[in-house]
C-alpha cells in the first residue's frame, strides 16, 4: 500500500523543521509507525524528563486521528497506566486538517496543563484535586525515575 502523499509530506516536514522539544521518527519498516519523544514543558512537574511515545497512523488517516500512547510511565490525570491519552482532538474533535505536529504539540501542552476534570486515570485525578502539591511532587518523582534522559 502506497503511502499517501500527505503522510510523506508530514514526515518530511517533521524532519526538516522539527518542533523544539518534540521528535518523531518513523520506523524504517513501517512508515506509518513513529517513535516519538517529548520533552516535559518547563515549569511543569515533567520538566527535565523525556517521554517516549508511540504513534501510529491508521489506514484512513487523516479521516481518523492517529493512535498515540505514552511508553514512558507518567503521573498525569489524563494519561492512564497503559499510556493512553485523554485528549479531545484525538477523539471527537479530530479534524483531518490536524496533523502529527499539531497533535504532538497538543500533548506537550497537556503535560503543561493537566485537566483533572476530564480524567482518564481516576486515582491520579482524585489526588490532583485533593492534594495538588503532593500530586505534583509524585509527578516530578516519577519523571526523575522513569523519564530521566
Amino acid at each position: 500500500m502506497a503511502l499517501p502523499k500527505r503522510i510523506i509530506k508530514e514526515t518530511e516536514r517533521l524532519v526538516a523543521e522539527p518542533v523544539p522539544g518534540i521528535q518523531a521518527v518513523p520506523h524504517d519498516d513501517n512508515l506509518r509507525y513513529f517513535d516519538v519523544s517529548i520533552h516535559g514543558p518547563t515549569q511543569s512537574p515533567y520538566e527535565g524528563g523525556v517521554f517516549k511515545l508511540e504513534l501510529f497512523l491508521p489506514e484512513d488517516y487523516p479521516m481518523t486521528p492517529p493512535k498515540i500512547r505514552f511508553l514512558t510511565k507518567i503521573y498525569h490525570p489524563n494519561i492512564d497506566r497503559l499510556g493512553r491519552i485523554c485528549l479531545d482532538v484525538l477523539k471527537a474533535n479530530w479534524s483531518p486538517a490536524l496533523q502529527i505536529r499539531t497533535i504532538l504539540l497538543s500533548i506537550q501542552a497537556l503535560l503543561g496543563a493537566p485537566n483533572p476534570d476530564d480524567p482518564l486515570a481516576n486515582d491520579v485525578a482524585q489526588r490532583w484535586k485533593e492534594d495538588e502539591p503532593g500530586a505534583i511532587a509524585t509527578a516530578r518523582e516519577w519523571t526523575q525515575t522513569h523519564a530521566a534522559p
Binding site: 499517501p4 502523499k5 500527505r6 508530514e10 484512513d60 487523516p62 479521516m63 479534524s95 486538517a97
Partner: protein
Amino acid sequence: MEDTNPHPPKRRRFFAVSSPSPPREESDPILPSTPQQQQREPHDHYYHTDPTSNTTPFADQDEEDDDVAFDDPAEDGIKIEVDTETETAEIKDLSLRLDGAMLESVVGELSSDVLRRLDDISGGNIERAINMYLDGSWKDIKPSSPAIPKPKPVKQSPFDTLFTQNNSTNANTNNNKRKSPAGISQTSTAAAAAPTPSSSSDEETAQRLDRMPLERYIGSFGAEGWAIRSGSNLLSHGEEVIIDRQQPQQVQKTVRRGKGRPTAVVSQPAAKRKDIVVRFSNSRGEEIGRLPHETAQFVSTLMDQKICSFKGVCVYAPEVLRSNDTIFLQLKCFMLRGTFAPRVLRLTDTNRSTGLFETKETEEEKALRLRQTSLVKLFNEIRLFPTSSGQDSKAKREGLLQVAEMAEEKEKEEAARGNNTPVRDEEEPQEGKELEQDQLDQLYRKAQTFDFNSPEAGPAETFTMNLRRYQKQALHWMLNKERDKKNEGQTESMHPLWEEYTWPVKDENDKELPVVENQEKFYVNPYSGELSLKFPVQEQNCLGGILADEMGLGKTIEMLSLIHTNRNEPEVTSGSDSKPFNLPRLPKNSDTVEPAPYTTLVVAPMSLLSQWASEAEAASKPGTLRTIIYYGSDKSLDLRAQCSAANSHNAPNVIITSYGVVLSEYTQIANTASGSRATSGGLFSIQFFRIILDEAHNIKNRQSKTAKACYELDALHRWVLTGTPIVNRLEDLFSLVRFLRVEPWSNFAYWRTFITVPFESKDFLRALDVVQTVLEPLVMRRTKDMKQPDGTPLVPLPPKTIVIEEIELSKAERAVYDFIYTFVKRSFAENVEAGSVMKSYTTIFAQILRLRQSCCHPTLVRKKEVVADEVEAEAAEAEAKGLTDNMDLQALIDKFTSQENDGNNGEAVNNNYGAHVLQQIKEEAENECPICSNEPIEEMTVTACYHMACKKCLLSVIEYAKGKGEQARCFNCREAIDEKELYEVVKHETEGVAGGGGGGGLLTAFKENNNVPVPEFSLRRLAANKSSAKIDALIANLKRLRREKPGMKSVVFSQFTSFLNLIEPALARERIQFVRFDGGMSQQQRAVVLNKFKTHNSEAAGGLVLLISLKAGGVGLNLTEAKRVFMMDPWWSFAVEAQAIDRIHRMGQTEEVVVHRFVVKGSVEERMVHKIQERKKFIASSLGMMSAEEKRAQRIEDIKDLLS
C-alpha cells in the same frame, strides 16, 4: 483431362453455346474404378470392331515429328507465335491442291507439317490422302521435306470434334480456333509482363528446348495388362505394343463414317467423360487389351496432358489369348519435349485472364493435382529418384500423395454437401487453421533477420524529408525490387520446390542411349507437376513486395521516398512492358487497360486518405508531386484520360483512394454485362505504374470481395504495407502474395499443397520453412524493439507511461451499476442453465454493454443511440429495452439525475460572501490542501464556511462522517457542512476561450487594476456539476494538465460516441477546448478535424483535447501532436487500446507520453482489465478478425469471466 483454363476467355465465349460443359460429377479417374465405368467398357469395345483398319498411325515412334511439342498453342509458351504464323500460311498454300478442311473433318485435326506431307505424297488427291493417312502408309514414303511429319496422335481439339459435321465452315473455324488462342496468349504475355522472366531467358529456354529430342527415354516398368479379346498369336514375347488412349465419342463418330479406327487417341480437355482407359494394341494395330487400373490411372493422365508417351514390349502373353487373360508388359516411358516448355505463361494466364470476374479454380486445380500425382507415381514405378532435392524425397512423395487423397476426399465431401453456396463478403468461413502464437513468433523471427549493414539508397532530390538509416535501407531494397536487380552476393540456388533428376544413360536392356549434349539433367517440381530442362532458380520475379515494418517505423514515408525516387524511368518501364508509352493511343473504346506510367495508386482505409495526402505533400518539394484523393464526389474524374501517357504533364503522380471505392468500382464493372474494365474509366481501366495497398491486412481474406477487387487492379509494381502480414492464418499471407502476383505462390492450389496441407497435417516445420522461403525475398520487416548493431534502438521513442486510474463510483452511480449487474448476472445464469447462451447471445451482449456503460455514466444506459457504434449490439437494442424499462432501475437513474438537477445550474449562491472572502479564497488557493497536502488544491472547493480544500477531500470527509452516522463538520472550523453546500472555484482563463456554456457562477472577482473587468474566478455549486465519476476524473486530470503543462494537447478515447456526447458539455463547462472525431463524420469533416488538431497553436491558444471514438480512430491515424492519452473505457483486449495509444506514441513523438486508463473499481471493467485483457495478451487474433461465430464463442467465455 486437359484443363480448359489456359485458353483465354475470348475463345471460351466464342464456343460457349456448343462446348460441352466441363465434367464435374463424372467419376474421378484416380478413384477406384466404379461400376459405371465397368459398364462403359463393353461399349468402347463395340466401337472398335474393325480390327484390320486398326493400324496405329505411329507405328514408328522413334520417328517423332517436330510438331508434337507445339500442337497446343496455349500450352507451349514462347513458340506459339512462330508456329501459328507458319501454319496459317501453310494452310493457305495448301488450299490450292488439297482441301485441308475436308481432310481434317474426316481424320481429325492435322498439323501443318502433316498436311503438307500428305499433300506431297497424295498429289492433292483427297481420297488418297485420307486413305494413306489412315493406313499409315504415308509415313513409309520418304518425305521430300526435311521435317518428318506424322499425324498428330496426341491431341484433338474438342471443338473440331463438335464441328466435324459442318464441313464447309470447318476450315475457318479451325483456323480461327488455332489463331485466337495464340493471339490472346500474346497479349496476355504483355499484360503479364511483370512476373514473367525476361525475354532473353525465354530464348535461352527455347534453345535448350530445341536441343532436346522430341521425346527422351526416362525409364521403364512392368505392368500386367488384361486381354479384352480372344484369339491365338495375337501377341508374342518381345513384340512391340502400342499404348494409347481412347475417346468413346470420337470412336463413335469415326466408326459411323466407316473410316475404321479412331485416329486421334488422346482425350480432350473438355471431354465429357474422364475415363482413364488405356489400351494397348499389337504392332498390327489390333487392340489387345487394357492396362490395369492402377497403372492406367497415371498413364492416362500423363498421356492426356502430353507429358509422356509410352511404348510397350510384351514380356509374356499366352499363345492362345482369352479375354481377361493377364499379359505381362514392359512399358517404356518417354518424356515429351513439349512438357518442358515453360509453363509460367500458363499459370499466369489462369491467374489473370480467366475473365475478370470468374472464380474458376477447381478444374485447374484438379488437372494440376492429377498431373502431379501421376508424375510422382510414375517416378515411383520407374524407380527414378532425384539426384538432388531439398528434402527427403521419399517422405516428400508420400506427402504429395497424401495431399492428393485429402483433396479428393474434400471434393467428395463438397459434392455431397451440394453446391457451394455463394459466400458473402466478410462472413465466409475462412480456411486454414489459426497459428499458435509461438508459431507466429517463430515465423516472424525468421522473417525479421534484417541485416543492418545492407546497402542504403538516398531519396531523390524532390523528396524533402530526412530518412533514417533503416529507411534508406528500405528504399534501397525497394528500388532493387522494382528494378529487378538481384541482391548482390546472392548465389543462385535451386528453387526449393524443385527436384533435380538425371536422365538415364542406359535403357532397360542396359544399352547406351543416345547422348544429348549439355543435357544430363532435368528438373521436376512435384508440387505443380512442372518440368524443366533449365536449372530452376529461385526467382525474384515480383516487382514489388511486402513492406511489413512495424507500426510507427514510417512505412508511409518509406513508400513516399520510393515514389519520388523511382519515377517512370525508361529502363524500368520499357524493360518489362513492350508497349511504348509515348505512342499516342486512343484511350477510349479500346478494350485493354490503359497504362499510366506516371501514376502510383494508393489504396488505404478511408480514415487515412487525408493523412496520406498531407504526408505526400509534406514530403515533397512544392510542385513535384501531383496528388489527388479519389473518393466520393471527387471521383468524377475520368482517370483513364487523366493518367494516360499522353497526358504526361498533368497526370497525377499519386492517386489516393479507399478500399471501399475499389470494391464499389469492381462491383459496378462486375454488374455490367460486358464486365469490361476499359469502359468504366475508373481504377480498373488503368495499368498503374505502381499500386500500394496500405493496411493491407484488409485483404487478408482471399475470398472477400475487397480482396478479389484488389487482385484485379493492374499495375507494374505492386506493394503492400502492413504491420501484420499474418494476422492469424497462413492464408492471410497467401492473399497478399496473390495480390503481389508472386509466381508460383499466387496459385492457390500450389499454396495449398505446399503450405496449408502440411501445416494442417501437423507438419508445421515444413510449412513454416516454406513460408519463410516465400517471405524472405518478399518481405522487409523491422520492429520497433530491434536494436542496431551498436545497441541503440532503431527508432528512439520517448518513454510511455501507462497509469491505471481507479475510479470510485458515487453512491447513486453504484446503485445503478449494482442493479444492472445483478440483473445481468441472473439472466446469464438462467441462460447457462437453459443452454441457450449462444442463442441469446445478442441479448446477453447487449446487457453486458449496458453494464459497461453504466460504469461510464448512468444515463448512458437510457440512451437509445448508445449502441449505434457497437455494431454487434444493434440487433439487441429491442431486447435490451426490457432492461431499461424496468421500473426499479428507472427509479435509481432518476435518483441520480435528480441530484444532478438539484443543483440547478444557475441557482443563486448566497451573496453574503464579501470581498474579503474572495480575497481569502484567492490566498488559500495558493496553499496546499489541508487534508491531502496537495499543492495546489485540486478542484478547489469551498465550504459554506469559506474553507477550502480539494473537492475529493471534502467529499470524502462528508462521506466518512456519513458512514459513521455523524454530522460532517468543517475540517477547519467544525461547522456542520453538507454536500449540497459546497462550491467549486472556477478559475477563468484570461485568454479567449472556445466552447462556452455551463457555469452558473454568480460570484465573480475582478482584477482591480484593470479597466476592463476580467473575471478571475467564480464559485459554482458543486452539485450542479455532478456528471459521473469518470467524467469528473477526466476533468480533474485535464485541469491539472492545464495548470501544469499549459498548452499540451491530449486525446480522449471512448468506445461510446454517446459517452463522448456527455463529455463534451463537461469540457465546455470547464472551458477546455476540444474537437471531435468519430465514425459518423464524413471524410471531409474528418480531415478538417485532424487538420485543426494538428495546426492548433497551443502556445497562443491553450491546450486542445481531441475526443475520438476508439473504432474510428484506433487505426492508422497519426496524432503525435498530443502527449497525453485518456482511455475512458477498457476494450476486451488491450491490443486494440494499444493500437489506439500507438496513434500518439509513434514515430514523430518527441515527448514522453502519459496514458491514463480509467477503470471503475470493483466493476466488470476491473475484471476486463485484469482478467480478460491479461489472458488475451498473447492472442494475435485480438484485432477482432475472427469469424463471427468464433468471436461469439470467445465473447461468451469473456462474459463468463466477467460475471464470475
